[in-house]
Symmetry: C2
Subunit: 635 residues, 2 copies
Amino acid sequence: MILTKRKMRTGPMEMNGERKETRKGSINTFVPLIDQMKAQIASKDPWFSLEFFPPKTMEGANDLFQRMKVLAQGQPLFCDVTWHPSNHPGDVEKPTSSMCVASTMLNYLNINTMIHMTCTHQPKMKIKEHLITAKKEGIRNILALRGDFLPGEDWDPKDNNLSYAKDFVKFIREEHDNHFVIAVAGYPVGHPECPSYRKDLRHLKEKVDAGADFVISQLFFDAKTFIDFVDDCRKIGITCPIIPGILPIQSYDSLRHISKLAKLEVPKNIGDTINPIKGNDEAIRKFGIFQAVEMCKVLLNSGKAPGLHFYTLNRDYATNCILKKLGLFAVDIQRPLPWKLSANYARIDEEIRPIFWNMRPQSYICRTSDWDKFPNGRWGNSSLASFGKLTDYYMFYLNQPRKAELLKMWGTHLEKEEDVWKVFQLYITGEENENGIKISMIPWNDDVLSTETSLITNELSYLNSQGVLTINSQPAINGLSSSDPVFGWGYPNGYVYQKAYLEFFVAKEKADILKDILPKYPQVNYHIVSSKGDINDSNCDETQPIAVTWGVFPGQEIIQPTVVDPVAFNIWKQEAFDLWKTNWGNLYQPDSESRKIINYFHEHYLLVNLVDNEFQKPTCLWDIMADMLSEEKRR
Amino acid sequence: MILTKRKMRTGPMEMNGERKETRKGSINTFVPLIDQMKAQIASKDPWFSLEFFPPKTMEGANDLFQRMKVLAQGQPLFCDVTWHPSNHPGDVEKPTSSMCVASTMLNYLNINTMIHMTCTHQPKMKIKEHLITAKKEGIRNILALRGDFLPGEDWDPKDNNLSYAKDFVKFIREEHDNHFVIAVAGYPVGHPECPSYRKDLRHLKEKVDAGADFVISQLFFDAKTFIDFVDDCRKIGITCPIIPGILPIQSYDSLRHISKLAKLEVPKNIGDTINPIKGNDEAIRKFGIFQAVEMCKVLLNSGKAPGLHFYTLNRDYATNCILKKLGLFAVDIQRPLPWKLSANYARIDEEIRPIFWNMRPQSYICRTSDWDKFPNGRWGNSSLASFGKLTDYYMFYLNQPRKAELLKMWGTHLEKEEDVWKVFQLYITGEENENGIKISMIPWNDDVLSTETSLITNELSYLNSQGVLTINSQPAINGLSSSDPVFGWGYPNGYVYQKAYLEFFVAKEKADILKDILPKYPQVNYHIVSSKGDINDSNCDETQPIAVTWGVFPGQEIIQPTVVDPVAFNIWKQEAFDLWKTNWGNLYQPDSESRKIINYFHEHYLLVNLVDNEFQKPTCLWDIMADMLSEEKRR
């Protein structure tokens, strides 16, 4: 997020926005969107933002979030989600509602999010509810719209005294003061329903005067249209940022459809180019990219467009190309922390997480979403913090491939323990399984393996082939540069450190051998637990967390973003064991052999974690594993 | 303190006292004295404690605290101060009162402290007041006594319904529940006023039943006396710890005086040894040490004495010898933090301090004594923390040599700036000045220089000879063992780190050159300020503290005990400039040349601090200084 990118580049002291809510001493800082814009305008640093619409189905949502992830890598300043009045837009429980999509973007994809809202066709109470829901979900930005009027409708805007967007802006300010950043729409060629361009400009002025922070323009096809529009706005005293809305032409049909909706004429030169190739989607897309890039260059060079807002139509390809050609798609941004920061302002202080959820960050966010304070500086004793239930984790549609795909990855029929070992091993190595499928995930990993893990692939692959089923690990790091491409994070010119960590499922017999070996390695802290809880061995203090990732930076306090916390491990342990059944075993028929095998792992394997406190020397964790495996063979 | 020694050895999880007030995640832990005793009894680890009486004069107090410091190095479990009813014992504002001496021991010498209190000869209100004062000062241990009755007195114990120590114990428990650990006195040969030994044992049982936590015995001269006494106590159901009170015989007169007061007969074998040598103090002291060591060995070996309580008579020599011969005087205790931990339970969470007061810890403790929370984990933004005024620093009699001595050290007549430079330089090198005097302190340093500083003596000496008047510094340390004899602190098997730090007064002309040079060294954070505040240059964030000392330990979060905090620096700066006048200039006549010279430093020198954030490489701070000095010569 730009939030952080900003912070890393300039530090919060250089931001002088009026509504700043910074908390000093945290690597992350909440700066309202409008203040971020002002800071970027001041430093002549153009940004981009992206617009999406809520998908109609769960599959559509799944697909959309994959595309968002790709685009989010380019560090948009924010993304927005349109408001579909016909689809329960404010119902956050409905996975395809505007509110749910916006909340997911914000909370699980860590994108600064704006939601559209309309004020007509609904009672005031409903609007109040929507605003409260948005606030509760952590959404801080609203594009305030009137809403469309369709011919023959029986809605009278006077029914709720919110006849125009300007009333809605005023209403939001009255209800929530400056909590929300409010954007309004501007019409470079006038609103389709407005009799004159001049009159429409005055309406825009009224919306801004009512309290809007910035303007996003309706789409247009010619840079001059927007530049003239900005000049006209400035002349009548509209001083806030005005952002051009860019539609990359992606197909003949969509262009026709959209320009009809927006009551816009497609300029002759564009029409002349497109009409001859209207059957050739590929050619039209290429032209669309070319046209958008050229127009955006003019806009950015004119000094009238401080950033660009893209109407993506939920597609990533064209926008991605345009951004890269414009040099706006961020590359190699310094990570502020070793895990992805939340874009939700409520988590702005969050600076420490237990390592256990490193591979399941969405589950962690979900299970801690009720916390009203997030740890920074010190994790401390978390025995009083309450983690939400695993079943609260309703965001399962993110990333979750269909059952058939999972079976192809993990095996349609499991016959023996070793079949499961093989799945773990192939996940680590990235090799294809017997179905010719790459195992891109296992239940304990939301995502593909990190580059960091790939550095210890050989060690992990061997362990998994021997039934040491690794689900989380990190190597020891003794003061690498904070800009190291693999391990770096935090402020520039600092140093980062890690203690080696290894977490795995292993058969009880192996764990017993391990327990005999561990006393020889006093520098190692361990936990060994069973699903039932009858085995719970550790040499750790019951509540003292261990920092396993930390960084030292110029002009800063020490930052320790990852800990092994014994209390949180007891929560994680339950999740880790449950995943055998919920996310794997359940794929098979209740009485099937496959189901029994997975149940066997749940019942008879133990979960182990090891921390090697000696980070200045080569880690002993591989030696311990080798000792365990050779002792097993000897016995 | 044993507090910490305990913690470092065993960790708080192994203490199972009933009234434990631990806070997990802090390197320091408050454990009530009685629970510390129980833990040491459980691990068969004998301790010692020391008794002092309040001195009659300020000089006496000064002298006493020097002796206490010597003995405190041996890590007594606690020290106690007797109650002198005739000398306003509860008036903490009076430097020679019992309360003030106890509070100073606790708060400024960091010794776990017990205060004696008597319950007779005063109204109940007065006693209540004393208890509240003790609580406010942080004293958590009280030896509850009845108080002596002198023949012909008009006090009737019934006047306040506190006729006996048992009533007093009950009263303390009623008023303050378990806040205080309460000790009572036991009489191995019976209380002098009590008709029978048996009856006196029953009185002791009543005192314990009333709520006392442990017993300290009156002095005795034969181990068997105490051993029998303990056996008799156990028989009637007294189960709490009973600690023998040991009087090292230090002179013929004091022995006679004390045994008369205690109505004790000196055993014949001791009398026979002493009487022939009664004119030879040295011989008697040697015998006293011999006799005490032998008796203590028997006591400790008997299993009846878990620790030893010494009646020091405010002398350190004999007790010191006895403790060392018994192997009870602690040596080379691992420092839990790089600065001395407070023994006051109110500061138990304190884990971070600004570096500026490193050399004036008593001033820091005094100026922060009103804080109700102390920073740990993160220092954060201290702009809301209020530091007490420098004038609150009433403990000036600690360490403060007389004016004549100071003049001999710092110069009776100052004639030029360089005379002052020379004082700083000789303080650093430890050489004698022209009066043949070693400069053991300067106004900015409470104490002799640390071993750490001695490693950079040559660099500092040269700088001071050139008018760079250093008052605080530390070298960079890149991950030395936490048991390093010079730099080590914290838990065993960890690593400690430091960023190089240098703080000094320097003439404005040099500071101007420095400002030109510093941009070449972007890894350095700096502050340059004047006494008036008209110069205040820095490249630091206004509120962000910089960790300059931190440690990484097995099974722990990262600990960062020392920070350079820009907010605290503004407070320190005032103190540092004021010290020129209050502690140095004031030694001279108002219109004297010497006074004018000191004033000149106050007005025209600037205070500078430098942090080199690059701790993995040799520090650039010496290069910066060399650049500054050579550029000055060039100009």
